[in-house]
């Protein structure tokens, strides 16, 4: 058995040195994000196709969503990305307390995003009978395009639901990290778990960056609508 030279904590035996382990860790997460791109990609591709086929119905559906909540959520998520990046930064420079506070702020912002999403938007849509499969009512004033509006809301709930699921997983990840950071596990030499979770969190933010315009801002929101 080869004698392990004095490696910092968290060193895995199958690697030669810390640098190889860190590079493998981040490449592994990027490959995982690749699979997530294709996972969301299936939904985005179907969305683009049905939007091309039923644009009027999608515009009606998009106008039924409140832009202000979407915009607020986008700002919340971008702020959480900043605090996550600062958490990694403070780990790099070895400030333990800053790490813990930044991680907690990121979690609070994530929870705020979910709160806005579930209470103000989803609940509101449920009351307005806009949830397909749960009492969706096609309104006469939608005209002939009304028949395809449930398709838009199928996509709305599938995409935002999948995104929310990834947010919940992200918050779970962050709680584990906060406990580890609190115990001082991350040093300037070894902070790979924090960095890898940061990549995941930023990726979930990017998904929302694309979801927001595609769902909320179809064909422009000016008074005349997109016709």
């Amino acid at each position: 058995m080869t004698v392990h030279s004095a490696h910092p904590p968290g060193f895995a035996h199958q690697f030669e040195d810390m640098e190889q382990q860190r590079e493998a860790g981040s490449l592994g997460m990027w490959v995982f994000l690749l699979t997530e791109i294709m996972f969301f990609g299936g939904l985005f591709a179907s969305y683009i196709i049905y939007r091309a086929l039923y644009l009027p119905a999608f515009e009606i559906g998009s106008h039924l969503l409140e832009v202000q909540f979407g915009a607020l959520n986008t700002a919340v998520l971008i702020l959480s990305s900043l605090t996550m990046a600062l958490a990694i930064h403070s780990a790099q420079v070895g400030k333990r307390r800053a790490q813990v506070w930044f991680l907690i702020t990121t979690m609070i912002l994530g929870a705020a995003f979910l709160a806005i999403k579930f209470t103000f938007e989803w609940h509101h849509d449920y009351i307005e009978h806009l949830v397909p499969g749960f009492g969706f009512i096609i309104r006469p004033e939608w005209g002939a395009a009304g028949q395809h509006v449930p398709m838009f809301f199928c996509f709305y709930f599938f995409m935002t639901g999948l995104h929310a699921l990834h947010m919940i997983i992200g918050i779970g990840l962050l709680t584990v990290l906060t406990v580890m950071a609190h115990r001082g596990r991350f040093t300037p030499e070894y902070y790979a778990p924090l960095e890898v979770s940061g990549l995941y969190w930023h990726f979930v933010d990017i998904i929302w960056i694309f979801l927001f315009p595609l769902l909320y801002l179809i064909g422009g929101r000016y008074i005349g609508g997109g016709h």
């Binding site: 860190r22 590079e23 981040s26 490449l27 990027w30 490959v31 994000l33 690749l34 791109i37 294709m38 990609g41 299936g42 985005f44 591709a45 683009i48 196709i49 091309a52 086929l53 832009v67 915009a71 986008t74 700002a75 971008i78 702020l79 990305s81 900043l82 996550m84 990046a85 600062l86 930064h89 790099q92 420079v93 790979a192 960095e195 940061g198 990549l199 930023h202 990726f203 933010d205 990017i206 960056i209 694309f210 927001f212 315009p213 595609l214 801002l217 179809i218 064909g219 422009g220 929101r221 000016y222 005349g224 997109g226």
Partner: protein, 111 residues
């Protein structure tokens, strides 16, 4: 790649830029540009994505391998979208020409 420490000032700068772009994309949505509304919204989203990827995710400082992987992911998503869209949108094209003289007018119709 991860050894690189990005200054806090740069992070804040990127953060402000992202907020401005979000405000811009909403503002642009309220102007009637016809088909260009979608193009504008997507262009702004791509710029925001690049900012997050390059600076928050340190891809700007990491090796070419990760950059190639990201491009591969986006390329294969594009393949899925374009080929499926190609089928859905050209279903109603009726095959006009017949016989050997088929490929030339066909190609001209495609490109």
């Amino acid at each position: 790649m991860s050894g690189h420490i990005v200054s806090v000032k740069l992070y804040l700068g990127i953060f402000v830029a992202l907020l401005c772009l979000t405000a811009l994309t909403i503002r642009v949505a309220y102007i009637d540009l016809g088909a260009f509304n979608t193009v504008a919204a997507l262009a702004i989203a791509v710029v925001k994505m690049l900012l997050v990827v390059l600076f928050f995710m340190h891809v700007k400082y990491s090796g070419r391998l990760i950059q190639v992987f990201i491009l591969a992911g986006v390329l294969f998503l594009a393949i899925l979208v374009t080929f499926t869209l190609a089928d859905e949108l050209t279903r109603h094209w009726s095959p006009t020409p017949t016989g050997w003289g088929i490929i030339v007018p066909l190609l001209s119709r495609l490109f």
